[in-house]
Amino acid sequence: MRIDCCLPLVLALLFSTGCATIAHTPKDYELDESWPAVRMSGPVTVSSGNAAAGKFTIDLAGQKMTVDLQEYTEALVRRVRAALADQGAMVEPDAPTTIEIEVVYANILPQMQNHCVVDFTVRAGNGYVRGHQARDKSGNPQKACNAALSRAAFELLADEQLQRYLAGSS
């Protein structure tokens, strides 16, 4: 076996795995659970709230993953809109019932599996404000955060006070 032929390859591999920065673009992730049933009183606007949010780098034992909180917010908004539309809700741009969503923080605890934690705030048109945290885990950090974002949409729609607002009873 000749070392001189494979040494550059091995070294390149070590450096590339140790120093790589992944830019994570959120992708759809299907959860196993069925979505919380939401009763609607009429059309709803679901919008994103953090135009000023910047990029955020998560350090994963030598590897880095860059996330854009605005992209995370947009992805969460899309998932909530889709989940509501699947239940027959009319999701419109200027409805009297409004939900504003803002992902404020995301991070990973790089353990045996990557635990992705996504913190977000929901503001409803009736003045209701609530912070939530959603999390999921996977060996792949990108997959963990895709799953955490889907779980965030799930938890948002499972919020009973928000459900009452959407149903027109608060």
């Binding site: 000749r2 070392i3 494979c6 070590l14 350090d59 030598g62 991070n107 404000v129 912070g131």
Partner: protein, 149 residues
């Protein structure tokens, strides 16, 4: 020559394993627009299974930072009026002895549960530190560049 090349390859493959044993990731941030300086009364919600008193360590560190800090199990143990609720999660691992591999501390608005600040420390076996140290480095990092009250 062949033996030497095997040795070099073995070192190259084993070395990253050792490097992986020594790794620290420290992060702390106060959310944009949040002024913790005006929120003096903090309650640390101790986890029921926390036998190592990490909740009390966090409260002590916050006291030293100038806050009025209490610690107790559950939010019902909080004083009547608090400005911030602090929660934490600790992860332990075994490597010759039990050590704290990861600690995450979150500050939340007690009324809305909005995240006000968050910090975490992750230390692999060769970088292990006592819980008091990790609590201190997280709170210090959180307030880095800002005046503690």
């Amino acid at each position: 020559m062949r033996r030497a090349s095997h040795l070099v390859l073995a070192v190259l493959f084993v070395l990253p394993g050792f490097l992986g044993c020594s790794y620290t990731h420290l992060y702390g941030e106060i959310m944009q627009g949040v002024d913790l300086g005006v929120r003096h009364r903090i309650h640390v919600v101790r986890q029921p299974k926390d036998q190592r008193q990490i909740g009390s360590m966090i409260a002590d560190r916050l006291e030293r930072a100038g806050f009025e800090a209490t610690a107790g199990i559950g939010t019902s143990s909080a004083p009547d009026v608090v400005d911030v609720i602090v929660s934490y999660e600790d992860h332990w691992q075994w490597d010759m002895s039990n050590y704290l591999i990861a600690l995450r501390i979150d500050f939340r608005n007690p009324k809305t549960q909005e995240l006000l600040a968050s910090g975490q420390s992750y230390r692999t076996s060769l970088d292990r530190k006592p819980p008091e140290f990790m609590v201190d480095e997280i709170i210090t990092t959180m307030f880095a560049g800002r005046d503690e009250p």
